[in-house]
């Protein structure tokens, strides 16, 4: 069977000593930054990207992926133990998880989170293995017009799923597309928006923007409200869920996994949205809905399964289509390009070891997390008690050195400072930076596909509606956009985000 052959290839790639080691490093670092509030996977992956230059591409990707899904585990550990969600995706876990901890069931809540995450991770590994080959088959049929429309759909979806104002999401996307165009135009060789600076001839590196907006911008914002973190740590007694607990967690885990996988594939979706959606779904369908917010085990199991599923499912569009669905995936694409691999449907056929090695490593990484996490809880708890005013200069140092090492130029450091200021401004104005990062990555690609599509159709814009794939994608985009704009649905969406 093809699937088994693929997975066997993946195992032989992922289970080498080097790759296992870096997988472990990745999930360990990921958990650590997941524990620390104020340091997210985007900034961490951006910081470590330059360090991975010396590694094999597959090893680098395995480690970076580990950071991403490891962060989901770490975030929930602190959410449960001290009511401090380390990541935005574990905000809802804190609602019931912390209540469980206060009732002396901290160990069970942690175990539930770990089991739910592991199950979702395993299911998603299989989902990727099953869904990726047919998807890239389809993607190979895509012409330039279809790709353009697919990116339009991606951007529209990220608008629809963004939590803030639609107008601002749209504005940020277009701003990102424009920023992505900085640098030499590949077709004419003309430097655009470069202000005659030779340092801008190759454009602004994605990592510089990401570190500025997410790293520096967040530090500045965090410095503003430094509330004391009083840690009311609860003792962990029993880890083993009771029979009743098992019975109550199975259905929520299954529903959370399904919902998380579905939302994770969508651009702009991913871990945070998945966990929020899973929690509100569970609250509606559960027989124990009265217990929600008071320590219901379903309120931990469902969002934890969903955020891990969402995190992993977001690899599907990245690996098969070369299209990032969130900023972390955009960084992954950046990593592929830096290692000389053009992301897209051909990765699977041309680099099967890389593709399947990465997929299998996710399952191995999830296993590491399950085994490692519970014994290391003491370490994580000690880590959160590091005060922020001692932590943030260190983050800043790693950002600065990391950005410098990209091209060994201090101009990247200056640009990072500039984007840090912009990032803080955006935050103050409620303009979400994530859609901008998507636009930034897609900008040059969209222009190129638009150019090619129009070249082939001799300037006839109808090509986007006469090709069936492209037309279908555009119709879906239009429907999604209209649906959000309709007042009735709009109110629903706002309600969903308020929960």
């Amino acid at each position: 069977m093809d699937l088994l052959n693929h997975l066997a290839l993946g195992f032989t790639t992922a289970a080498t000593a080097v790759n296992l080691f870096y997988c472990l490093v990745g999930v360990f670092l990921g958990t650590a930054i997941g524990v620390l509030p104020g340091l997210g996977p985007v900034a961490t992956i951006a910081m470590l990207l330059p360090v991975t230059f010396g590694l094999e591409p597959v090893t680098a990707l395995i480690m970076l992926a580990g950071i991403f899904y490891g962060a989901q585990y770490g975030g929930s550990t602190t959410a449960i133990l001290v009511n401090l969600p380390g990541e935005s995706s574990s905000v809802v876990t804190a609602l019931d998880g912390y209540k469980m901890a206060r009732q002396g069931r901290a160990g069970i809540a942690l175990a539930t989170a770990a089991i739910a995450s592991f199950f979702a991770g395993t299911a998603c590994t299989f989902l990727i293995a099953l869904a990726a080959p047919p998807l890239s088959e389809v993607a190979l049929q895509f012409g330039p017009a279809d790709y353009f429309s697919l990116m339009v759909l991606g951007l529209v979806a990220s608008i629809v799923l963004a939590s803030g104002s639609l107008l601002h999401a749209l504005g940020m996307i277009i701003l990102g597309l424009l920023l992505g165009l900085i640098g030499t135009d590949v077709n004419s060789g003309l430097p655009r928006f470069s202000f005659d600076l030779p340092e801008l001839a190759d454009g602004v590196n994605f990592v510089v923007v990401a570190m500025g907006v997410f790293g520096l911008g967040e530090i500045i914002a965090n410095l503003h409200d430094q509330s004391d973190r009083s840690l009311a740590l609860t003792r962990i007694t029993s880890l083993m869920p009771t029979r009743e607990d098992w019975k109550r967690m199975i259905a929520p885990i299954l529903r959370g996994t399904a919902l998380g996988s579905a939302l994770g594939i969508l651009p702009g979706g991913g871990a945070m949205l998945s966990s929020f959606a899973a929690y509100s779904l569970e609250k509606k369908v559960s027989r124990h809905s009265a217990e929600f917010g008071k320590g219901a085990i379903e309120g931990v199991a469902a969002p934890e399964a969903a955020n891990n599923a969402g995190a992993q499912a977001s690899f599907i569009p990245m690996l098969t289509l070369g299209i990032p669905s969130n900023p972390v995936m955009a960084l992954m694409i950046g990593a592929l390009i830096m290692h000389g691999i053009q992301p897209g449907p051909s990765v699977m056929t041309e680099q099967p070891a890389l593709f399947w090695g990465l997929v299998v490593s996710m399952w191995i990484g999830n296993l590491f997390l399950l085994v490692l996490n519970l014994p290391l809880i003491g370490l994580w708890v000690r880590m959160i008690s590091v005060p922020y005013h001692l932590l943030f200069p260190a983050i800043l140092v790693f950002c600065a050195i990391g950005v410098f090492s990209l091209a060994n130029t201090q101009f990247d450091v200056y640009f990072m400072a500039l984007f840090g200021v912009l990032g803080y401004l955006f935050r103050k104005l409620d303009c979400e930076p994530a859609p901008m990062m998507l636009g930034f990555i897609l900008g040059p690609m969209m222009e190129e596909f638009l150019r090619r599509a129009l070249l082939m159709s001799k300037g006839n814009p109808l090509v986007f509606v006469t090709r069936p794939i492209s037309a279908a994608l555009l119709v879906i985009s239009a429907v999604a956009l209209v649906a959000v704009l309709l007042p009735a649905l709009r109110r629903k969406r706002e309600e969903a985000f308020q929960e």
Binding site: V51, L167, H168, L170, G171, I174, L175, L177, L178, L181, D185, N187, S188, L190, R192, F193, L216, I219, I220, L223, H224, Q226, P387, Y388, H389, L390, P393, A394, L396, V397, A400, I401, F404, S405, N408, Q410, F411, V413, Y414, M416, A417, G420, V421, Y424, L425, K428, L429, D430, C431, M446, E447, L450, R451, L454, L455, S457, K458, G459, N460, P461
Partner: protein
């Protein structure tokens, strides 16, 4: 009668979008429009710039119509010190070397926090961090910078 701004966030975001959009259109003027079948380098930027300008205007208009939250205080101290520290790091790295650049970055940015005290513990931690970076990035990963730059050599 002056119209009151009812949503300051929309107001400033609108100005920001409109500013970036107009700048893009102005700069792209000289890039060559081309034709639809052969898009010039100015085609896509002009289209995007116009869209952004429109969105900016829409956000600007909304600022006077819909009610929004106030922006809240700007963390000037953090904004200025973190930015200044980062710029200083970039400026010092080549001529002064990694160690002075790191010390400058850490001291300037740490001053942004109200809780930070320049006591022995903080200084010790700073030295550990600087030593770690020197060992890992310069000795270990071969980052091409000097620990002490030309300023410190006669």
């Amino acid at each position: 009668m002056a119209m009151p701004i009812r949503s300051p966030k929309d107001f400033w975001a609108g100005l920001l979008y409109a500013g970036f959009g107009s700048a893009a259109i102005l700069l792209a003027r000289d890039y060559g429009w081309g034709s639809s079948s052969r898009m010039g380098p100015g085609y896509f930027p002009t289209v995007l710039g116009s869209l952004l300008l429109l969105i900016g205007v829409a956000s600007f208009v909304r600022a006077f119509v819909a009610r929004g939250e106030p922006i809240g205080g700007i963390a000037w101290k953090g904004l200025i010190l973190v930015t200044a520290g980062t710029l200083l790091f970039g400026f010092l790295l080549r001529p002064a070397g990694l160690v002075p650049a790191l010390v400058a970055l850490i001291l300037v940015s740490a001053a942004a926090s109200v809780k930070f005290r320049f006591d022995w513990k903080a200084m010790g931690l700073m030295l550990v961090l600087v030593a770690f970076c020197a060992l890992v990035f310069v000795k270990g990963l071969g980052l091409p910078v000097q620990l002490l730059g030309s300023w410190f050599r006669a």
